[in-house]
């Protein structure tokens, strides 16, 4: 459905995007992760035909975006960064304009506008100038515009930015509902969003793909993967020493967070230690408030991958 082939973009001496390739089949929601300035938006701008790549290209529904921009653009719905829309228009006029440009007139335009307005819930602001709308409504108008023609490929640059938690939940539900019949790319800073909606995540930094896999696969690379959180008071040093002596335990660290005090027990790579920990706690009769195996944290992986200037080859996961 969407194939990105060796995209490169230079801005003067700066390599904003440095040889990015991936494909997104129908039914996939690809999360595009990376720190600010990593090249996420630039990549999206090239896929949608706004920027011409320095080299490489994107194939959208079988059309090369450089060679056949019009048919390629027809099957893309795009929410640009910051959800720009004409400030002096009302959402009704704006969507009408988009419908006409997309080739729908009369009752067909009305039907399609009605459908997205319903879906994105912007009925109550339909006749207010866009410049007077809240950030959340502006974002939703931008998404409505991208969905109007029911595109096969949907590219959303930070679709939930500026939305409140309820609106975020709604937006994720909408994205998940559309997933089966579309190829979707969303860029985001929110790692919980990746876990909530994405079937696959790509982490990029400095214009390169550093990791590519399902959110679960990426989380496995976290040091918290299979770590055991043991809810005991950390004051007693003997507890830590006992835990450290268990087979397969690499480190024990005290943590204190919203859930209270606990010890985080990190296993050596590829080992699970939860049964040993449980047995030990029972044997010593510790007052355990809770015991949980961590799945791993995307934010760990994200920070580790994007802050260490590592060779991409050595950290790239098998996609």
């Amino acid at each position: 459905m969407l194939e990105i082939r060796h995209l490169v973009k230079h801005f003067g001496p700066l390599k904003a995007v440095d040889d990015i390739s991936f494909t997104v089949p129908r039914g996939e929601v690809l999360g595009f992760l990376g720190p600010n300035g990593a090249g996420k938006s630039t990549t999206m701008k090239m896929i949608t035909g706004f920027l011409a790549p320095t080299s490489g290209t994107a194939i959208v529904c079988g059309h090369d975006i450089a060679a056949q921009p019009i048919p390629a653009k027809r099957c893309i719905g795009y929410l640009p960064e910051g959800a720009p829309a004409y400030p002096d228009m009302t959402p009704a006029d704006f969507l009408d304009f988009i419908a006409h440009i997309r080739g729908y007139t009369g009752s067909e335009a009305k039907r399609r506008i009605g459908r997205v307005v319903e879906m994105i819930r912007i009925t109550e602001v339909l006749h207010q100038p866009i410049e007077t709308l809240s950030k959340g409504y502006k974002r939703r108008v931008g998404v409505a515009q991208a969905l109007l023609h029911d595109p096969d490929v949907l590219i959303l640059d930070e679709p939930t930015d500026g939305l409140d938690p309820n609106q975020k939940y709604e937006m994720r539900k909408i994205i998940t509902a559309m997933r089966p019949e579309k190829a979707i790319i969303i860029s985001t800073h929110l790692l919980e969003e990746v876990e909530a909606v994405c079937s696959r995540a790509i982490i990029i930094a400095h214009g390169r793909i550093l990791a590519d896999g399902t959110p679960a696969e990426l989380a496995e690379r976290s040091r918290h993967h299979n770590a055991v959180r043991l809810g005991v008071a950390a004051a007693d040093p003997r507890v830590r020493d006992d835990l450290l002596r268990l087979p397969g335990v690499a480190a024990v660290e005290p943590v204190s967070d919203g859930e209270g005090e606990a010890l985080m027990i990190f296993p050596e790579k590829g080992r699970t230690v939860v049964t040993h920990v449980a047995d030990l706690a029972r044997a010593h009769g510790w007052a355990v408030a809770g015991l949980r195996v961590e799945r791993g944290r995307l934010d760990d992986v994200f920070r580790e991958i994007t802050t260490v200037p590592a060779e991409p080859a050595s950290v790239a996961a098998a996609g």
Partner: protein
Amino acid sequence: MHNISTIFRRELASYFATPLAYVFIVIFLVMAGVLTFFVGNFFERGQADLQSFFTFHPWLYLVLIPALSMRLWAEERKSGTIELFLTLPIRMTEAVIGKFLAAWCFAGIALALTFPFWITVNFLGRPDNGVILASYLGSWLMAGALLAIGACVSATTKNQVIAFVVTAALAFLFTVAGSSIVLGMLQGWAPEWLIRATTQMSFLGHFGAITRGVIDLRDVFYFLSIMIAFLGANAILVDLEKAE
């Protein structure tokens, strides 16, 4: 064609969505009136024509047309809507032409609203309405040429003030190209053909010829070719500069 008309309608409506359209039209009419009656001595001349009305159009346009053209692309770039606009399934030429036609049509509306001058002169005497019609056409063509220059300049910046100032400066050069101001700068060093070509570029010269009532196809062709050249450059510049 469908896309051009869709873009045209959106752009034209956007002039009227803000006070810009009304401010522009009112100021245009008031200034045209003041210049015609007080500076142009419309009544004292005692002639049944609109010469004193049309004479001032080039100078009026020098200030007002850049105000109309400055937002065409600069505003889209500033607000980021250019990214939305140019990722829609439209051709660059459709975008450029749709926007330009909206601005040109707006200028035409402003020009048409000067009809009370025409009524006045017909009430007072028997003017040659053919000449007046030709002058209107010439004035509209000149406005179109200036708008094309302005659209092209607007495509190079996000800043509408810069677009205004640069357009006004270019418009001034084109307007007075045949006068001693510009020719004086060229004389003495420029080759003969360049001086002759520059003289030919003058808006005043071509507009003046039309207002005398002779629609020479060469004058019409001149304004049309200025429009085509600058709109072509406009399309290329939008493409080149949009990354920034």
